[in-house]
């Protein structure tokens, strides 16, 4: 069976080109991060990681990610269910609206939250009067993080659920199964890999968001500094090794994300083969 581009010479040429380009373009930056982080040895690296402020930043970053994921999950599933299982006016607009966070520059995303919930904003001044502080504290960071990450789960689910159609669920309805059971028994098994993938992307972005968070964080060391903000400050303090040490943690999270994703895809592919 002969296919286009199967000639050995073409094959070799294309593979070499792809691998070379990817190595230069994608792998090299990754290597550079770790090279810089360990430029002055493991001890200096370790000292930078175990620094009080770095630890506080790691903790805040993880907490924000852990809180962001369930919110995005519920929203993503609800929205995907809505736009793929029902027809109603405004469906296409709703689908485009969830792309707002992709279209808005993160700094502007931070700004709009600040303008609304900050001391001079109309909601913010009311909150301030009741001594509730959202901006420049962890709730504000959480809010903008949710804003920038909310499309991921929905974006993963919508094409899949569209492609799968609703026949299985409809059959279940005919058999008299209650709604929640249908979702859990019929829909969930079909979408769980996409769902997990969405969560992984959400997590990666939540951990790494810089622009939006920098506007609403207030950058109080040890309190409202997330890891990316902390990294930037270290970089500003001429502590290149420290900055890249933090960067290497974020890169490590990125790598774990990639591994998790690759193994998910592999399992999904295997399931399909068996099915």
């Amino acid at each position: 069976m002969q296919r286009i581009g199967d000639a050995p010479a073409v094959r070799r040429l294309l593979i070499t080109a792809a691998v070379l380009l990817a190595a230069l373009f994608l792998l090299l930056p990754l290597v550079a991060i770790f090279a810089q982080a360990f430029a002055r040895g493991v001890d200096v690296f370790w000292a930078n990681i175990t620094n009080t402020y770095t630890l506080a930043a790691i903790q805040l970053t993880l907490v924000i990610a852990v809180l962001t994921i369930p919110v995005c999950l519920v929203f993503g599933v609800a929205l995907a269910w809505l736009v793929t299982r029902f027809r109603f006016p405004g469906r296409r607009i709703l689908q485009t609206l969830i792309d707002i966070p992709f279209a808005v520059s993160p700094v502007v995303a931070g700004l709009v939250y600040l303008l609304l919930y900050g001391r001079t904003g109309w909601l913010g001044s009311w909150l301030d009067g009741h001594d509730i502080q959202l901006m420049f504290a962890w709730p504000g960071i959480l809010m903008v993080t949710i804003f920038v990450t909310c499309p991921f789960v929905a974006r993963e689910l919508i094409p899949l659920m569209q492609a799968q159609g609703s026949r299985e669920e409809e059959a279940a309805v005919t058999l008299g199964a209650p709604g929640w059971t249908i979702f859990r028994r019929v829909t969930l098994p079909n979408i769980r890999w996409a769902l997990l993938y969405g969560v992984i992307l959400t997590n990666a972005r939540a951990v790494g968001e810089f622009g939006a968070v920098s506007v609403v964080s207030g950058a109080i060391r040890g309190q409202t500094n997330t890891l990316p903000l902390h990294l930037e400050q270290l970089y500003q303090d001429y502590n290149t090794v420290g900055a890249f040490a933090s960067a290497s943690l974020l890169a490590l999270i990125a790598l774990l994300t990639l591994v998790a994703k690759a193994s998910l895809e592999w399992r999904a592919a295997r399931r399909e083969d068996h099915a």
Partner: protein, 287 residues
């Protein structure tokens, strides 16, 4: 059992047989209003304070216009480069088996997973004249860091997965018979690719490239370290917004931001519609 064969025509079931319309509509609308639209009112509140003439003056300020040119130009170059590079990678990943393929595949998502600030300082370090790459390229007369090439590079880096990940599944689903038929008819690889494969991939390629382009328009973190930020030459629009913020000029920042926002949303809408048509056509083609 392949789930794909279910796809055709089911979305258009007019009756609401399935439960959960109220619940999912409630959650979606609440979320969209509270998290997305309500904050946007802040942006438009700022815009409302401007007269049309003021708004026009701000967004057509010649330095801002220069930044549109830089941003759009670099984003276009990045998108075109990514279209070629992404197509190559997707092709190699789908069509060939070779050692390290899984690794290469996983690597494709790196730019999404890596925080942009990290990407920014790393690229700047690599491509500065004393960095690993800069040291090689500079003697060849190619200066990357602090020129628009650097901007395009950072944009290309952050948006490459869009192309690869949109083209890949379509290429995977492409029936074998198509290119076999072309070859049997005596076409060369190149003609076959151009006449048979490219037309089939075209919609996905355009969609992916379009998404990559939109993403590049708003990118700030990855670019700012490598851009050089010289007026009229290497200032991107996101920086102009940032500058307005520094001047406490929220209205000005909002005005410029709204231009980027509307441009991006319009492009995304076009892509969404295109994608919808494309899916329909695809399923109509080999249902």
């Amino acid at each position: 059992m392949s789930t794909r064969s279910f796809a055709i025509g089911l979305g258009s079931t007019p009756k609401r047989v399935l439960p959960g319309f109220g619940l999912s509509l409630g959650i979606s609308l609440t979320f969209v209003s509270l998290m997305l639209l309500l904050p946007m009112t802040g942006l438009f509140g700022q815009l409302a304070g401007l007269s049309l003439a003021e708004y026009w003056t701000i967004i057509t300020n010649d330095r801002v216009v220069a930044s549109y040119v830089v941003t759009i130009g670099a984003a276009a170059v990045a998108a075109i480069v990514n279209a070629a590079f992404g197509l190559l990678l997707a092709w190699v990943l789908v069509r060939y088996e070779f050692p390290g393929k899984r690794l290469l595949d996983a690597l494709m998502d790196l730019p999404f997973a890596l925080p942009t600030a990290v990407a920014g300082i790393t690229l700047a370090t690599l491509y500065a004249s004393n960095g690993w790459m800069g040291r090689l390229l500079e003697p060849l007369g190619l200066q990357v860091a602090y020129t628009w090439v650097g901007i395009a590079l950072a944009m290309a880096f952050t948006s490459i997965p869009f192309v690869v990940r949109t083209v890949q599944p379509v290429l995977e689903d492409m029936p074998h018979e198509m290119d076999e038929a072309a070859l049997t008819l005596g076409a060369s690889d190149i003609t076959g690719f151009r006449r048979v494969i490219l037309p089939h991939l075209w919609p996905a390629l355009v969609t992916g490239t379009g998404l990559a382009f939109v993403r590049s328009l708003g990118e700030f973190g990855a670019i700012i370290f490598i851009a050089g930020n010289m007026p009229y030459e290497t200032e991107i629009t996101a920086l102009m917004i940032f500058v307005r913020l520094q001047e406490y000029d929220y209205a000005g920042a909002s005005a410029i931001a709204s231009v980027v926002l509307f441009a991006s949303l319009a492009l995304l809408l076009v892509i969404n519609i295109w994608q919808g048509r494309f899916i329909k056509r695809l399923h109509g083609g080999h249902g």
